[in-house]
Structures are given as C-alpha cells and as structure tokens.
Amino acid sequence: MSVANSPHPSAEACAAEVLARHGQDPHALVQMLRELQAEQGWLPRDALGQLAAGLGLTLAQVEGVASFYRFLHLRPVGTYRVLFSDNVTDRLLGSEALMADLCRRLGVAPGRVGDDGLVSVDRCSCTGLCDQGPALLINHHQVITRLDASRVAQMAALIRSRVPVTEWPSAWFEVQDQIRRADVLLGEPLVPGTALAAALARGPEAMLAEIKRSNLRGRGGAGFATGTKWELCRQAPGDEHIVVCNADEGEPGTFKDRVLLSRFADAVFEGMTIGALVTGARRGFVYLRGEYRYILEALEAVLERRRATRLLGHDILGREGFDFDIRIHLGAGAYVCGEESALIESLEGRRGTPRIRPPFPAEHGYLGHPTIVNNVETFCAVQRIAQHGGAWWAGIGTRKSTGTKIHSVSGDCERPGLYEYPFGTRIGRILEDCGAKDTQAVQVGGPSGVCLSAFEFGRRIAFEDVPTAGAFMVFDRSRDMFEVARGFAHFFAHESCGFCTPCRVGTALVVKRMDKLAAGRGSRHDIDVLFELDKLMHGATHCGLGATACNPLRDTIAKFRPAYERHLKSLYFEPGFDLDAELSIARRMTGRDDAGAHFAEHSA
C-alpha cells in the first residue's frame, strides 16, 4: 500500500474485520462497503483494494460498485454528513432556505467539505418523511424531522462544538406514524403466528389458491398478480427458492412502508414466511432502503423474537422441514434498486443496474434461483388473506383492483399521513379527508405516476383508472407546477443508473432544458424538444425508470401549460447561453467596456 495514500489508521483492520464478518463473500460487497464506511466515514482507496483482494475482485470492480451508490463516498465527506431531503414536499416546507442557513452558519458551500474536514451539507432524494418534513439524514444513520430555523441554528452549534449525534436532543429524531385512516391493513394488529398458522393449516397449494382467488395485485406500482408470480416461482425448477421483500421505498412522496415496517413488522415477516411456505423458499431478504437505516435495530429485534418463538428458523411452528429465515440487506441510496431485477443485482453485491428481462426473477432471480420479489404492503395483504381467505379480500375494492391501498399523503393539506381506503375511492374524497384546500393538482404515485388537475378529482384510485404505488402529494393554487416538474426532472437525472443511452443522456438533457426555462431563457422550441425527449424515453429505455422519467413533464405541460409559458423568453429559438456574457473575454482582452462592446438586447 502506498504511504502517500495512507488511509485512516484503522481502515486496514476495519476492512479485514468486515471481510471476516461476511466470510469473504463477494455477494455481500454492498453490505461490506456500508459497514466499512460506517466505521471510517468514507471509503479509502487502499481499503477498497484490500476488499478487492479478499473477494477475488479487481479494485476497479469494487470501485465501480462503490461509486454507483449515492450514499457511499470515495472521498472524505466530513465527520458530520448532513443530507437534506430534497423532495418537493420538503421544499414546500422551506427546506432550501434552511439548508442555505445551515451552510452559512457552518461556513461551507453545498456539496463541499469545509477546510477543517468537519462537515459537509448536501441534498439527497426523498427520505420518506414527507408528512413531517422538512427532514434530513445525518451520517447515513439518523433522521431529523420537522426542521425549523431554531433546530438548524442549534444543530450548527452542536456540529461546531463537535457534539456526537447520539447526544443531540432526542426529540429531533422522533418519527411519527401518523395513521389517519385505517382499514383492514392498518387496523387491528396481527397476533404473531396466527396468519402463519392459518396458512399452514391450509397447506401450500390451498394457500396459493387463496392468493389467486383474492386477485391480489402487487402494491409496488406495476400491479402484477401476486398469485401468478408465486405460482411461476413455485413451479420454476431450482435447488433453492428465494423470497425478497422490496422495502426500497424510494418513490418520492411515499412513506407507507416506513410505517408498516416500524409498526407492523410482524405482519411483513409473516407475509414473507407464507411466501416461503408457498414457494418452498428457505431464505428471505428484506431490501431496506439506506434512508431507513434508523429502523434496522428494531427490525432485527423482531426477527430475533420470531426466531425465539419458532416463527422463523427450523421446523417453523413445529412443522417438520419448514425452515425459513430472513436477513436484512441495507441499500445505499439508489432509487433504481426499487426495480426488482436491479434490487437483486444489488443484493448480489453489484451495481444496481436492471437486468435484461425475460427471464424474470420468478424463474431466474437471486443467484439464479427462482425468486419472488414483493412490496412490503403486498406481504401485509398476504397475511390478511391467509387469515380471512381470498374471497373476503376480493370482496373489498373493485373487481379488477381488490382490497385496500395505503396512501402516503403529504403536501398542501392540514392532516398529512397515512390513509388506507378500499380501491375505487375518489381522489376528491381523499383530498376532503386530509383537509386539502384550494387544490391545484395532485401527484399520485410519485414522479413516475400521474399528475391530476382539478377537473380529474372525480377519478378513482384503481389499476383500471388511476394506479398508484402509494404517493399522494397535494399542491394548492399558490404552487408553480413548472417548478414541481423541474424538481422531479432533477430527481430522475440524479437517480438514473447510467446504463442505457436514452435515460442516461435524456434525463440530463431534460434537466438542461428545464433549468434553461427556469432561468428565463426558454422558447417554444425548448418545449418542443422536451416533448421529443419524452416520446423517445417512453419507448427506448432499458427499464421503467427512464420510461417514466418524463411523466411529470408530459402531464404538467399538458395540464399546466401557462406555468411553462410564463418562463418563456420568446416564442422563437433562444440559445442556451448568454450572448453578452460570451463577449466578456473579448472585452477583457481589448480593455473595452463601452456600449459598443456589449451585445445590444434586441427587441423580441
């Protein structure tokens, strides 16, 4: 190892320990990198080289993985790493001014580490605390909710006096569940083991039949029939089958899974165990998004209790040969890992790039094993179906969209939080219940979903009308919908995995156009180009991220066109650069600054 690049003194020992803890398994690389960073604060190159050597990989391969994840750092980021949640709902609550204030108080520029190496302040994608924002993430571990000027001022003082985060006021770390309307999922809590006992009494085939009878569709957004997915996996040949719970709740504006995991973890794990019963899996994973690191210990404690009470482990509930256990894998800041094949790549210790499909995970998933990947809420529904039967579930909601759906309501309303309704509920009803007034628009399903304007509030939540993965962001008439769309454009560009041309370059080009419009330099031509990019990305991308990246753009241009046209400088072409500024070098060289050395603003 080179002396010049010598890392933190204990980095070497730390890397060795991490390697040993994971049995030098290259599939655990993302976990190793997270753990190494948790100790070191960042990932020194020599330590990466040590991991590479221990895992039989090249340094470039390890660096390639580490640099993929937004929460892993190849350069020092300070003793304190402060990340402001940058969802539009945080912005509505004033996050930008608070971040500017913190930066000013600490004397650091956004995204830069101060000269003393003490602190860096930056933005991150939505932290899933939209109903109690503005929020921030500190050292990729704790979250702070309900930020205001006084918390920011105190925080700056605590950081400057180097007070450890664990000694900060505990009220700052309070995360509330805010369940506003409960139905069959958020109502009565599960008595651990009862749903599983019901499933065991039915047996795997009959349990699968109940799931199919229920017409349950995946709650992650795509709405694939859960019974069909499980049957495909069950029938797929393989030495081993795998159950994965997708808890990478990254869609901005969605936070229902956070509450389900915090308050109903038994229901989630029980649903997964029923999945194992049906598919014959012996191993399960929860892919928990890095932003939810703070609930890891509580989840581990629930798993431990379930093992102790024979709800996990060997011979579950005394049924000989029914073995299943669950491990939690922490993500590291990558929205695309919510896509199931990208999630599996990440689980295997690689960059979270979506796979070529088919084959689908149900046939060829984790390490090639048949794998079911389901949303947190889907597993919660499964345990209810085990208890009450498929016909009961199918009797709730609409014919094509059975059961209930949990909505994460945030934005301009009096009572943000979780609202559970049967499918088929009117948008307007949800707006009334949450105390939304003078509503201009609702973004249903997050940025990749649909933006509805007032004339559409009679539409209903259902796969056959307005499908949703759970986000419900409300905007009143004071909001600029162009700025909302611009925020989403930045989100997609930030989260693109970079694999395919149209998404990698297209999302960056969209940002350039939107920023140009925001700077007041736009013309009709720019809107035409945005339409062109939208059309291309809808058909040509490798996965759904790119395909849906222009959805907010398309909806807002169509429905709120005046919001865009307010930003147009002219109806004709406008260059993306400032002609007069381009002359500044010539002015400096000639020593001129008279009127003739300036580009006269021509009348548009």
């Binding site: 190159r45 470039a60 640099s67 693109s496 970079g498 041309t501 149209p502 990698r504």
Partner: protein, 284 residues
Amino acid sequence: MSGPTLPEGEDAFFTLDGEDLRFEPGDTVLQAATRAGRYIPHLCWHPDFAPHGSCRICTVKADGRTAAACTTRVTDGLEVESNTEELNAQRKTLLQMLFVEGNHFCPSCEKSGHCLLQATAYEMGMEGPHFEEFYPDRPVDASHPDILLDFNRCILCELCVRASRDVDGKSVFAIAGHGIGTRLIVGGPSGRLGDTDMALSDRAAGICPVGVILPKRRGFAVPIGARRFDDRSAADEVQEEPTCAPGRSQALIPEPAKGEGSPASAPGRSQARMPEHAMRRMAP
C-alpha cells in the same frame, strides 16, 4: 414468452419489415437478422458476446411493442419493424445523444473511418448534434507503452469490460459512477492502464467500436479510402458478410496479423474509391 413449438424439421419464420426470415431456436432478433444479412443498426451488440442492451440503437417494434432487437428473442410469426422512418429518427436522436455526451471530433480522431458510431451516424443521416454538447472533462491515459485510452469517446457499450473479463480473464476495465457521470475506469492501484497486465494482443484491446482503446504508433496508418467504412457502409458490411457480421472488423485495422483470418483485414479491399458517405465529415 416462447412461441408455439413447431413440428420437428420445420423451419420457423419471423418477419422483418414485411420480409419472411428463418431463425434458429434461441436467436434474438438481431442475431437472426444479421444471419440473414439484414442490417439493424447497433453499437453495443457483438456476435461473440452476450447481449447487453445499453445503447438502444437497435430498438425495433416487435409485434407493435418497442424492444431492443439484441435482447428480444425471436418467436415464430413475430412481426418486427426496423427500417421505418419513426425508428430511424429515434436512432438518429439516440446517436445525437451519444455524440453530445462525449467529445467526438471526427476530423481529428484516428478512429475516423473505422468507427462504428460514425458509420452508424452516417447511416441514419445524422448531420449535426441537435442537442447542446456536454463537453465533459475526461483526461486521456497514455501510461501504457502500447495502448492509448481516450475516454472522451466512450459510449459505455462495455465491450472492453466484457472482453477483458470473459475472454482475457483480466478484468482490466469496469464501469463506475451513475447517471450522466457513468464512466469507464481501469483497474490497478493507480487506476491507470500502465499498471495493469493489459496487452495489445488482448481481445479487449481490439474490441472498442469507437476511438477509446487505440494502439499507439499506428494512428492514421490507413489512408483515407482504405478504411473500414470508406468502401462500404455499416449496412453494406452486414449485407455482404452476414455470417460473421461485425465481429470480424471491430479490431482496429492496422493490427498485425494474429491468425484470426478476419475477412476485414484481408487484402483486396478497394483502396481507390472514396464513396460519398466518407466524404462527409462530422462537424467538430
């Protein structure tokens, strides 16, 4: 996913732009089309490697649904549209995206005339960048005695990553970063090619479809008129030599004979005529 099975001994057919073509079981659309001597524009696909699906240039409509031809399996009766105004316009836009993302100055690039990106852009009638250039700042790596790396031209096809890992067994290259910051990186403690065991005879050294991986001291050795795409276009290549298609000549032309018997490096290619499409230069 898979089409109806056919009685044994009967050929299976699909249609490409209205023409019936045979295919082998397991073929992707791009494989079957190439075997039949039909050109579907592509950059990241190579017949010797598993499909990758990143450039999206080969996007077609298969039974009306857009899909990458390199990753879509052919099924009996599948109707594929490829050479349509709409799809070619989309390809041109994707090519323009690749051009503005990197720094592609064809007139001064020694890969000019051998470059699949340039040839495909000609093929799709691309006349300008359309979008504003990103002008990324990517230093070149000249640390290796025999090979120069100019990352400015990388289109992230990962052919070098795959060749180095799967054929050479060296894993010299990897992909790092994300989004528009995605980039090709080199292994070894310093991250420079000179510190790796890469050799000019490696498969990875000759696989780059654009001008990133270049052998030193051979720049502009082939005169204009004798370069890979001077004589015939990217489409002509596939039509004239369907069975081996692009595989043979991805390697930089002036490479010393390696006994691969690659038809493209065989003598006898016209050196006199400079066709119209080679006269047009990409604007810097």
